[in-house]
Amino acid sequence: MIIEIKGVSFTYNADSPLARKVLDDTSVSIAKGEFVGIIGRTGSGKSTLVQHMNGLLRPDSGLVMVDGLDIWSKGAKLQDVRKKVGLVFQYPEHQLFDETVLGDVAFGPRNMGLGEEEVIDRVVEAMDIVNLDFEAIKDRSPFELSGGQKRRVAIAGVLAMKPEVVILDEPAAGMDPAGRDEILGEIDKMHTKGGFTVVLVSHSMEDVAKHAERLIVMDAGRAVLSGDPRTVFSEEKRLLEMGLGVPQTVRMYNMLRQRGIELPMIPLTVEQLGEMILDMTKTKGHGREVAAL
């Protein structure tokens, strides 16, 4: 396990009348190389949970282990933890600061004390993953780029640190559908080509169904469900009770079931659903021919 959260509790504004328990004795683990989606209502503890994964927040109780090390034990350095676990916040473009794109993306690796050649290699590689043209924009001000490009610069800044795990909190928020598809395609690329372990926090059931290998569902400060998307989305009723939902393809699967049609498995994408339906019509057509003979 690259990340293990064991029995963690966390309360904001403890000792004040506004105290709010956001994580309640919850446990979660992320294996190396996984692509995990985290879903849950606003206020369910998703963002607080991921902020524990790189030591931004310290649990009131419980254990946070990164790569086998208790990150709050004596001798553990948070700096090392953050090299291993990179966190891309919501609207990360609000945190750009440098005069040039290069300066911004290179900030992390330069801070790590790497040689300039290595720094540039990493910047080029990171920008390539998020489809930014290094030569074309390296000397431009990040502030004059489009919203989507700004966000990519901010993400590249995290990738250039070459963490083992990249956590992205709602990376597609506010983007148009095409921009959303592009950025999710780039996140797939981080996982497959870049070899990063990816944790994606999202409100879109369709997006996590399509991209993640495993889902963790948060409700009232706890991870209450975990499994591959098919297993998790088979619990439509429970997800609705938690204020979530299922992708439309899964809704159609369930509606067909109510109408007496059993598809071979829960479809996570429209392609899968379409293929299953086409197969069934062929089988049915074939059955008719046999009957006619």
């Binding site: 849950g40 209502r41 606003t42 206020g43 489009s146 919203g147 989507g148 928020a173 506010g174 983007m175 148009d176 559908p177 095409a178 921009g179 959303r180 598809d181 409100h203 059931m205 369709e206 204020g243 979530l244 939902g245 992708p247 439309q248 393809t249 809704r251 159609m252 509606m255 067909l256 109510q258 109408r259 007496g260 049609i261 429209v270 392609e271 659903l273 379409g274 339906i277 086409l278 069934m280 019509t281 049915k284």
Partner: protein
């Protein structure tokens, strides 16, 4: 949609607007927009980032005033500075971030803020607050501090604050963008009810195609202009190259088109998952029909 006998709440003709005109950063955000919005109509506007949607929204209540063309709200041109407050009372706006819009320490005070500023008598304010809470399904939250609410609840309070001004039109400028699935459903259901039951025109600006699908009429913007307009099934089935416009298809539509491509032309124009399931069950197997309710 056709033959309304009534005057539009908002009439837009030849609207052009350029940011930073004359400077090197000059951007033409709107380059000739015509639009009529009628009482009780639920309109959605979709289009890629930067296509001009938000500028259009701002032109509807005089945050942005036309460089060329006119925007007429309830018979008043938005360029008439003396009538600014009349215009903003008729057309209310709800923005994207639920945390930036609520100002008071309780929900009730927040909703009362607008009418108080208008000098509405306190007895009537109380009535308006009750009504606004009811119409947004927020009864029971009157004494809550806004920061204790979920995102969807905050946005409904923002809508309630607009309703208390007795508007004829509410513009939701990506008001669901930051919400979770339940929050989105709550806001949309409230908006839908206001259109149907109260005759308030709703303009929904959104990146979610499943939301746009609920409208009576959908407009697609690109490069500061409308490039298509129609009811949802026309828009999602007839417009070529939605992806090229920065958009995509709701999953039901994608499935319908895929099946048609494979020779199964059974669900042209279908938008809801229920209707799709009915068509599919008719095609591939018998089965008991369940009661079908419309869903948001």
């Amino acid at each position: 949609m056709g033959c309304y006998q009534v005057e539009p709440v908002i009439r837009i003709r030849g609207l052009k607007y350029t940011y930073d005109e004359g400077s090197p950063d000059e951007v033409e955000a709107l380059s000739g927009v015509d639009m009529d919005i009628f009482p009780g109509q639920f309109v959605s506007v979709i289009g890629r980032n930067g296509s001009g949607k938000s500028t259009l929204a701002k032109a509807m209540n005089a945050i942005v005033v036309p460089d060329e063309g006119v925007v007429i709200v309830n018979g008043i041109q938005t360029s008439d500075e003396n009538r600014l407050w009349d215009i903003r009372r008729v057309v209310g706006m709800v923005f994207q971030n639920p945390d930036n819009q609520l100002v008071a320490t309780t929900v009730e005070e927040d909703i009362a803020f607008g009418p108080e500023n208008l000098g509405v008598p306190s007895k009537e304010i109380a009535e308006r607050v009750e009504e606004a809470l009811r119409l947004t399904g927020m009864e029971g939250f009157k004494d809550f501090p806004p920061h204790m609410l979920s995102g969807g609840q905050k946005q409904r309070v923002a809508i309630a604050g607009v309703i208390a001004m007795r508007p004829r039109c509410i513009v939701l400028d990506e008001s669901t963008a930051m919400l979770d699935p339940l929050g989105r459903r709550e806001v949309l259901e409230a908006a839908y009810r206001l259109a149907r039951e109260e005759g308030i025109a709703i303009v929904l600006i959104t990146h979610f195609m499943e939301e746009a699908m609920l409208a009576d009429s959908v407009y697609i913007m690109d490069a500061g202009k409308f490039v298509a307009q129609g009811d949802p099934s026309e828009i999602f089935y007839k417009v070529d190259d939605l992806k090229g416009l920065g958009l995509d298809e709701p999953q039901v539509v994608e499935l319908s088109k895929m099946l048609k491509h494979e020779g199964l032309d059974i669900a042209e124009g279908v938008l809801s998952a229920e209707e799709m399931a009915d068509r599919l069950s008719a095609l591939i197997g018998p089965g008991p029909r369940e009661g079908i309710g419309g869903t948001l």
